[in-house]
């Protein structure tokens, strides 16, 4: 039975649900797993069996990678290398078994790079037919452009969690100075001249009250305080409520301090938080 074209189109629009990110990656993994099953020899599959196999593959990948990460962390490293990955592969393959599993931790004869697991993977790559993924996946390229344009001490370098109007971090001496001291002799960090120098300078600046103290690299946004009633009129100092208001407040009309915190994310947009004080009703 064939439906008319108009009915087909309406059905297509109705059947397009919003896809979660988890579902999206699961569907991609399912496509890859179904390609592997087809290469092995299967022609059809039950949906439940395919989804189960996809879930098993996902869990295997995550477990392998987590154990490799934990091996590297145990060796005081943040970046994993092939040795960590080999150890993780050994852990995952112990249930099935592989050549040399009994002498894994033999100090005399063990060499991780000669592992039989790696050899079997090498044989698999050389013998199995290459099955590229069915469709290309677009890669996000936003991060690369951000790293290239980073200016020292700017938003990109310090990260978005630090506002731009805060002063820069103090310079902790030159890096060459610290390197030389490591080569020629150990020295405690708190005793280094750069740290002592910074402390003294900081105290002197506070006492002298020099003109440079308090000057920020970038101007901070204006802050106003308003004491106001719920309906827009002014009242006493009881209760505080917070509303989101888009608009401007004129200084001439206000006799009491106004609490308005302006935070400009972009130059075009201004979100104003108005803290209002309401009268308590006895």
């Amino acid at each position: 039975m064939r439906k008319s074209r108009s009915k087909r189109k309406s059905n297509i629009h109705l059947q397009q649900p919003t896809i979660n990110p988890r579902d999206f990656q699961f569907m991609i993994t399912k496509v890859a797993v179904s390609q592997i099953c087809k290469s092995v020899g299967f022609r059809r599959s039950r949906v439940s069996a395919l989804e189960t196999l996809t879930l098993v593959a996902t869990k295997y990948l995550e477990t392998l990678v987590k154990s490799a990460a934990s091996f590297s962390n145990a060796a005081s490293r943040t970046q994993s290398n092939i040795l960590d990955l080999t150890n993780a592969l050994h852990d995952m393959s112990l249930q099935v078994g592989f050549m040399g599993a009994s002498t894994l931790y033999d100090h005399n004869n063990n060499c991780l790079l000669k592992s039989s697991v790696l050899e079997s993977l090498s044989d698999f790559v050389s013998s199995a037919n290459e099955i590229p993924f069915a469709k290309p996946i677009e890669r996000a390229k936003e991060r690369e452009s951000e790293e290239v344009n980073a200016v020292p001490g700017s938003f990109q370098e310090r990260g978005g969690h630090i506002p731009e109007w805060l002063p820069r971090f103090p310079d902790v001496g030159g890096t060459n100075e610290n390197c030389d001291k490591r080569v020629y002799g150990e020295q405690l960090w708190e005793n280094s001249s750069s740290v002592l120098g910074c402390q003294i300078d900081g105290f002197e600046e506070k006492r002298c009250g020099s003109n440079n103290v308090g000057k920020l690299p970038k101007g901070r946004s204006r802050i106003k305080f308003r004491v106001n009633n719920g309906g827009g009129t002014r009242v006493g100092l009881n209760g505080i409520s917070c509303n989101n208001v888009f608009g401007q407040c004129k200084d001439e009309e206000e006799a009491e301090p106004v609490a308005v915190c302006e935070k400009s994310v972009k130059s075009e947009e201004k979100h104003i938080l108005v803290y209002k004080r309401r009268k308590k009703r006895c």
């Binding site: 990656q25 991609i28 993994t29 890859a32 797993v33 390609q35 592997i36 099953c37 290469s39 092995v40 020899g41 299967f42 022609r43 059809r44 599959s45 039950r46 439940s48 069996a49 395919l50 189960t52 196999l53 098993v56 593959a57 996902t58 295997y60 990948l61 995550e62 392998l64 990678v65 987590k66 490799a68 990460a69 943040t78 970046q79 994993s80 290398n81 092939i82 990955l85 592969l89 995952m92 249930q95 099935v96 060499c111 790079l113 000669k114 790696l118 079997s120 993977l121 090498s122 698999f124 790559v125 050389s126 199995a128 290459e130 099955i131 590229p132 993924f133 996946i137 890669r139």
Partner: protein, 117 residues
């Protein structure tokens, strides 16, 4: 004394074999795409700038799935061979290789993965 040059030659051979394998990984396109593997690596806390290790993880997962699928295929064929009665059914057998939960369950249980319907 005599073992040392042999062991060093052996190490060189192993290193060269491993480096050849890692180089061949760059030419081999695994079925699981790099972007998907990178997503799971980031999710699990695996940090490595080397693309070859990402390919190695993808190949290891592909090999695992292929082993499970091939074992399930063996189970499926063994089950159908026991049921065959006529010649007609033999011809249709190749078209009816369907991956089912029963075949998966039997293999996953052997490698200590619990699968329930």
């Amino acid at each position: 004394m005599n073992h040392n040059p042999q062991s060093s030659d052996g190490k060189h051979d192993d290193d060269s074999a491993l480096s050849d394998f890692l180089a061949s990984l760059m030419d081999y396109a695994p079925t699981i795409p790099d972007e998907l593997v990178e997503h799971y690596l980031a999710k699990s806390g695996f940090q490595c700038p080397d693309v070859r290790l990402i390919r190695l993880v993808a190949v290891a997962t592909q090999k695992f799935v292929a082993e499970v699928a091939s074992d399930a295929l063996q189970h499926c064929k063994a089950r159908q061979a026991a049921v065959v009665k006529d010649k007609r059914e033999k011809q249709q057998k190749d078209k009816r290789l369907i991956l089912t939960m029963d075949d998966l369950q039997s293999h996953c249980a052997s490698i200590f993965i619990g699968v329930w319907k």
